[in-house]
């Protein structure tokens, strides 16, 4: 054993120092979000849904996520102490999945009131908003930032499947998704999911309109 620690070794050690804070932030933000969305979730129709989940970034993916943020995905080994996992905004993350996508704006509005100082970083693909995303500090920790995303159910589940199938077993494969060719295919998936969602929502709106007319007719008889 040489006794020389790599930057990744240092970051793994830091991860376990931060872990209690990361967990507290995830629990805190999840609880705040669940409470904050009540005015929306209480008004949902039976075909609508709103799901809130939280996750703590895993030890193996945190240093890798920080590395990918560096130029050429490479740490400068001449400055080993200049890296900190606290630079990551999503060590503790909450995701709000909503259907139909028209509910995203409602949820965004109520949550902005609960997290007014959090920084916005929307996820946009080809000019189309895919998700509202915010990050910032909460009462649970002054070291670790939390993040929440509001995304349509189909896109959110696509991200979860993509993560579970590809990146979770091998976080280093995350760089593949940045290849321009792969980005093209991912864009096509977003377009298809968006079109499916729009069509589905239009069909539901039509059905609801028919029900409304029937009710009105019954009342008038």
């Amino acid at each position: 054993m040489t006794g020389t620690r790599t930057i990744e070794d240092r970051l793994r050690e830091q991860y376990f120092t931060l872990l209690p804070d990361i967990r507290r932030v995830a629990e805190h933000v999840e609880a705040e979000v669940k409470y904050g969305v009540l005015p929306v979730s209480h008004r949902l129709s039976k075909y609508e849904q709103l799901v809130v989940t939280s996750r703590v970034k895993e030890c193996e993916s945190a240093p890798d996520a920080l590395r990918r943020r560096q130029v050429f995905g490479t740490f400068d080994t001449d400055r080993p102490t200049s890296y900190s996992l606290t630079d990551l905004k999503d060590l503790a993350g909450v995701r709000i999945l909503a259907f139909p996508s028209s509910r995203l704006a409602d949820i965004n509005r109520v949550l902005r009131k609960r997290f007014p100082s959090w920084q916005a970083d929307p996820v946009v693909e080809n000019g189309r908003l895919l998700a509202f995303k915010y990050s910032g500090y909460c009462q649970a920790s002054d070291k670790v930032r939390g993040e929440y995303q509001i995304v349509s159910t189909l896109i959110g589940l696509f991200w979860e499947v993509e993560h579970a199938a590809i990146y979770k077993p091998a976080p280093e494969l995350k760089g593949i998704a940045r290849d321009v060719g792969v980005r093209e295919r991912i864009s096509e998936a977003y377009r298809a999911l968006g079109a499916f969602e729009e069509e589905f929502e239009a069909q539901i709106a039509q059905i609801l309109e028919v029900h409304r007319r029937r009710r009105r007719r019954r009342r008038s008889i």
Binding site: F72, R178, V180, E184
Partner: protein, 84 residues
């Protein structure tokens, strides 16, 4: 990055003999000894990229193109080792 612009860049890089290293997130060509960071490719047009692909370099050794000024020596060393 729009769909068609992405496709054009992808085609241009492949045709020009550039491979993608997903670990370093870099497009590189060992023969030309040139490498483009993924951010550089994302932020510039296909015609801009082509100019750099065609550019004749005066200095021997690897040439790294990225959105920034100076590449730290340790990063350069590591990249040169990784790209061969």
């Amino acid at each position: 990055m729009t769909g068609t612009a992405g496709a054009r860049k992808s085609q241009l890089l492949r045709k020009s003999g550039y491979a993608y290293n997903f670990n370093r997130m870099v497009y590189f060509n060992r023969q030309a000894k040139k490498a483009f960071s993924v951010e550089f490719v994302e932020d510039h047009s296909a015609s801009y990229l082509q100019r750099y692909i065609k550019k004749t370099e005066r200095e021997p050794g690897w040439h790294f193109y990225f959105n920034g000024r100076d590449l730290p020596t340790a990063v350069r060393r590591e990249l040169e080792g990784a790209l061969g």
